[in-house]
């Protein structure tokens, strides 16, 4: 599939996954890849602080948009901010700050569970309708919470019978269940627990929210070196002789130990990716584990390349 087509499938992409799997990394790579094909992209960070701005070597994100890279802007949109925003838009500008510091907003958010999530998603919906960008990428809360986040409008429709919040919930459901407007991209790493959690999340949000799922991104996969890694010191010595180079015994054993480690880890990863494919019939895009450096501009560009290649390969069936 072409990247342009993938990125214009829906205007909103919600990136979700368990903590530590690299949601923010994937968010950044997707944004950069989309910007390369000429789309204007807005990243929305719903949990406030993340490593996103640091990766682009920019100051901490705020409620106001900031440019991270050509074509890529980013901002935060936390529940507290969304609630304040809502109150201010409804004539409570003067006292909203004080209410926030008095904790009254906590009471409201507790009285109406899911209300802050609705306000966040409601704001996302307005951003979408105002066409602030060609593509809006949401860096969603960690997986367990992501389900609640996406389920909030349904729960709210049950709890609140009247009023503007109910209308907002209905609008948000419309956004979430329209595949031409919104899809959820799930991220995992090829390990047992994150894979299980991803499968649970996928079924929960597809069945109960009716949201459409983009291909799954399996992040942090050890790249293939193109040779069998199941080699021991003896076979390394034979190869050294054949290639006519000197490899000390100690070095041969280090090479063998590192190769065995990688081979074992790769076998585990493949088993997990296969298990994921069996349990969840969605195409997978694999992103490589980065040995060379912490996430910075160059690494995001590299992952954007890989993501583009992964998307390009989507039409052909993958093993």
């Amino acid at each position: 599939m072409e990247l342009e087509r993938f990125c214009s499938t829906s205007r909103v992409v919600i990136v979700a996954g368990k903590g530590g799997v690299g949601k923010t990394t994937v968010t950044a790579a997707l944004a950069v890849a989309a910007a390369r094909v000429g789309l204007s992209v807005l990243i929305v960070e719903v949990e406030g602080k993340s490593g996103l701005s640091a990766a682009f070597d920019r100051p901490e994100l705020t409620y106001d948009e900031a440019t991270l890279a050509p074509g890529v802007r980013a901002r935060t949109l936390t529940p507290d901010q969304a609630l304040l925003d809502y109150l201010q838009a409804h004539g409570l500008r003067r006292i909203s700050k004080r209410l926030a510091s008095s904790g009254a907003l906590d009471v409201v958010a507790t009285a109406v569970p899911g209300m802050s999530d609705i306000l966040v998603l409601g704001k996302v919906k307005s951003l979408e309708q105002e066409r602030v960008a060609d593509l809006i990428v949401i860096d969603a809360p960690a997986a367990g919470h992501a389900v609640n986040f996406l389920l909030s409008p349904r729960g709210l429709l049950d709890a609140v019978r009247v009023g503007p919040i109910r209308r907002q919930a209905a609008d948000v459901i419309e956004l979430l269940s329209d595949p031409s407007r919104c899809q959820v991209l799930l991220v995992t790493v090829p390990e047992e627990t994150p894979v299980n959690e991803l499968v649970d999340t996928a079924f929960a949000i597809e069945d109960r929210v009716g949201v459409s799922l983009a291909p799954v991104v399996v992040n942090g996969c050890l790249p293939d070196l193109g040779v069998e890694l199941d080699l021991d010191s003896a076979s390394i010595a034979r190869d050294a002789e054949l290639a006519d180079v000197f490899v000390s015994e100690r070095e041969a054993s280090d090479l063998a130990a590192a190769a065995t480690f990688r081979a074992k880890r790769r076998a585990l990863e493949l088993a997990q990716a296969t298990r994921l494919a069996k349990r969840l019939p969605l195409p997978q895009i694999r992103l490589p584990f980065l040995f060379t450096a912490d996430l910075g501009r160059a690494e995001i560009e590299h992952l954007a390349d890989e993501l583009t290649a992964g998307i390009a390969a989507l039409d052909t069936p993958r093993v």
């Binding site: 368990k18 903590g19 530590g20 949990e47 602080k49 490593g51 409804h90 004539g91 409570l92 006292i95 209410l99 008095s102 904790g103 009254a104 906590d106 009471v107 958010a109 507790t110 009285a111 109406v112 569970p113 209300m115 809360p141 960690a142 367990g144 709890a159 609140v160 019978r161 009023g163 503007p164 919040i165 390990e191 047992e192 627990t193 299980n196 070196l225 040779v227 080699l231 390394i236 034979r238 190869d239 050294a240 054949l242 290639a243 006519d244 180079v245 100690r250 070095e251 280090d254 090479l255 590192a258 190769a259 480690f261 990688r262 880890r265 585990l268 040995f291 060379t292 450096a293 912490d294």
Partner: protein, 394 residues
């Protein structure tokens, strides 16, 4: 392995041998739950009566710990299950529980209400029923509450508490404040006054706020809130005292904070931030556990290894047949070794001086193990690595 290691080893050992309350903190995805279970198991293996409070264990780990469902009470695990080799101290005991936020809160309400009628009214209130699911920080607070309860009544030597998976390690520190602030809320306290009287005393701002809230979410919701605060009347004091007692336990010299982190730049940065925040409340990080650090294979520099890989690739291109194949295989092996040396070097660079920077007594590294940790054997394997790999000198 160096001379100063013994100092830290005793520090980790001290935790397992003499620590009473151990709180495992860290951001999501770093392996906190596993480390909490490992620490409790190590205590039990050393002859202590240990319990681990888990928050949201992965299914297979939960099964291994005998936790099929949320529970309000700890369950002891039969010795043959956690000590299959039979080489642990015979006095050791191991129990586990999976925190049930709602029922922990319920028993707190039951404990502090004046009579069963008050309990009934609160438990049936819709606003109250939302608290455990919707108010952020409740899970954290109930974990601390459960900890206090186990400390008071459980008879355990060692209580290890996992903290909920948040993006930020800091969230749990704010939890008690959030809850007591809610229960103590002045604006809503006004609502408990006899019908409509509150509108006379409440300030203009509060009136506007309440009118808007009921317009936005409906007056039913406000009625629930009012009913809740009425029903709660008289219990605030008990709750406040309890929260103070929990905070006091956190500051007790026998309470140890263990910060679990991964060896990445962001995680280490957050660990420093967290340690600073703890410091502001006069609490100290007892140990930093760096989980899943990459193994190091030998001591060659990645640059040299990469250069060899390049030479071998060139040689493979020049030759044909077996010679070319052998050179290509070797090139791949050198690239692989260079990859691992590079990441190991980088992770160690992040750790450079981390002990001084976060001011913790011990830094322990747990290497990446080539399998998932979800049974007692693998927990013990991690424990062995953890207690062998502490490194006090930076």
């Amino acid at each position: 392995m160096n001379g100063s290691q013994s100092a830290t080893l005793s520090s980790m050992d001290e935790l397992a041998d003499h620590g009473h309350v151990v709180i495992c903190c860290g951001s999501g995805g770093v392996g906190k739950t596993t480390i909490a279970a490992v620490l409790a198991l190590e205590g039990a293996r050393r002859g202590r009566n240990a319990v681990v409070v888990t928050i949201d264990p992965a299914k297979r780990l939960a099964n291994a710990l005998g936790l099929d469902a949320l529970s309000d009470t700890a369950r002891e695990i039969d010795r043959p299950i956690w000590d299959s080799a039979g080489d642990s101290d015979p006095d050791g005991r191991f129990s586990a529980l999976m925190l049930d936020t709602k029922s922990t809160f319920d028993s707190l309400v039951t404990r502090y209400s004046a009579d069963s009628e008050q309990t009934r009214r609160i438990l049936a209130n819709r606003f109250y029923r939302n608290i455990s699911g919707a108010l952020s920080g409740t899970q954290e607070y109930m974990a601390m509450e459960k900890l206090h309860e186990l400390h008071e009544d459980g008879g355990y030597d060692l209580i290890v508490v996992d903290t909920p998976p948040t993006r930020h390690a800091l969230d749990f520190l704010d939890a008690p404040r959030r809850i007591t602030r809610l229960l103590d809320n002045r604006v809503f306290r006004l609502l408990m006054m006899p019908t409509r009287a509150y509108l006379r005393v409440a300030s203009m701002a509060v009136q506007t706020f309440l009118r808007t809230v009921s317009r936005v979410v409906g007056s039913e919701v406000i009625d629930d809130v009012v009913a809740f605060f009425r029903a709660f009347e008289g219990m605030e004091e008990g709750f406040r005292e309890r929260a103070a007692a929990v905070l006091e336990l956190l500051g007790d010299p026998a309470t140890r904070f263990v910060l679990v982190t991964s060896p990445s730049r962001d995680a280490v940065e957050e660990a420093r931030f967290f340690a600073r925040r703890l410091g502001e409340t006069d609490l100290a990080v007892h140990a930093l556990i760096v989980n899943r650090i990459h193994p190091r294979f030998g001591d060659e520099k990645p640059e040299g290894l990469r250069a060899r890989a390049v030479t071998l690739q060139a040689s493979a291109a020049e030759h044909t047949g077996d010679t070319a194949a052998a050179a290509a295989r070797l090139a791949a092996l050198y690239t692989n070794l260079a990859d691992f040396q590079e990441i190991a070097e980088r992770e160690r660079a992040h750790m450079e001086g981390v002990r001084e920077r976060i001011g913790s007594a011990a830094v322990a590294y747990v290497p990446f193990i080539a399998r998932d940790v979800h049974d007692f054997d693998s927990l013990h394997e991690v424990g062995t690595l953890l207690f062998a790999a502490a490194d006090g000198a930076e």
